[in-house]
Symmetry: C2
């Protein structure tokens, strides 16, 4: 159930200039403003579901969101993590298809729904938005292809380390070097592409080796260099 929350006008949204709408003119922002539907999403709630018809995109105003695909036996694979300023659900909208993944809130969120029609109209009118959109898609695609390569070629150990670094890049660090997101071990496994037990084991191993410190669901990065080396990444 989506409860509406107090509107922040799009043009004053703190995420505006770090979002895909950074180059979009005020008049178009106002068109979106007029038609958007904002809602509060509780932690764990589903924003949209794989296979359902795409009626618009969602702009994340606050909170963190995971996008998952479910394999044959219903096993989750997390294919993307989104943060405030990100939009989700655009793939389906652009390809005119159904949602290919399920979006659910990792914590309480505020999201703004932008109906299909207005988004497509503005995309037609605003070359800058289209271009930003293409940039976002290109970056996602490059990342996805890297992930494919790593899944195919790197051992789980390296991929777990890499995932911790990815979480750091995506959500940043709190004071005290703590990665600013809480995922269950199962979710980490579903992001890495491994069994939950394997992820747990490797995390405790990294903990023992003083690469990270496990503080409940939080991960504190103790030795960034060692972590990068464990991930076998040098760039």
């Amino acid at each position: 159930m989506k409860a509406s929350f107090e509107h922040v006008e799009c043009k004053h949204c703190s995420n505006r200039f770090k979002s895909v709408f950074c180059k979009t003119e005020n008049d178009m922002i106002n068109e979106i403003e007029a038609l958007k539907i904002c809602s509060s999403i509780k932690k764990g709630d589903t924003i949209f579901r794989e296979g359902s018809y795409a009626s618009g995109v969602y702009c994340i105003n606050a909170g963190k969101v995971k996008l998952s695909m479910f394999g044959d036996e219903g096993k989750e694979q997390i294919v993307r993590l989104a943060k405030p300023g990100d939009i989700i659900g655009y793939k389906a909208l652009l390809s005119g298809d159904k949602y290919s993944s399920t979006a659910s809130a990792l914590e309480d969120c505020n999201v703004c729904f932008i109906p299909r029609e207005i988004f497509l109209v503005i995309l037609q009118k605003d070359a800058a938005l289209s271009f930003e959109m293409m940039k976002v898609l290109s970056n996602e695609l490059r990342q996805a292809e890297e992930k494919i390569t790593h899944l195919a070629q790197k051992p789980v150990r390296e991929r777990v380390a890499e995932t911790i670094l990815f979480l750091k890049e995506t959500y940043g660090l709190d004071a005290d070097n703590i990665v600013n997101v809480s995922l269950t071990r199962e979710e980490i496994a579903n992001l890495v592409g491994t069994a939950t037990e394997t992820a747990i084991r490797l995390l405790s191993e990294f903990n023992k080796d003083n690469i990270i410190e496990l503080i409940g669901k939080k991960i504190k990065i103790i030795d960034q260099q060692k972590l990068t080396k464990t991930a076998n990444l040098y760039d």
Copy 2:
């Protein structure tokens, strides 16, 4: 070395209407025509290389192209296969970055190079092209995410079967149900994300089980239904 080949005018190009330029107006097509550089690429030759500066996109006029990323020990992962009418090299161009993969010809090819500037200018002017571009990107991204899920969750056997079906979808069948592409076993392995020996073993197994028939490098599909079942796909 790229030798030029006899120009086919873009507006008369047989691939035009099945390409991303299907909705692009004649005057813009002519602008491309004026600046494109066509060349013949020999089988095995590199069209562009991962890490080099993206100076434009390539439109494939004839032939088949593989796009590969190279992992830590230089191991190839094929991330995309392209066919006539497809464009390659757009990710790097759009994100303003270097090529993230290496393109090489699987057979003799004719490709048309469209310089960065004109492509970007037309992208700005032509909302229809931008939209088609976004559709292409969205579809690629969805496919990539599916591939991630399958790499993480499906056993090699299913992925090999799936890859044969993917090759069929991409390049079609000759008369007599033969998949219209020749890849080495190593390339098939690098597409599946497995060891060459494992790919070889599974292909011979499928051969023995009368699912496919191996005719040199060609694969003939004997039992499509069994193949789909082996891939654990029902859609």
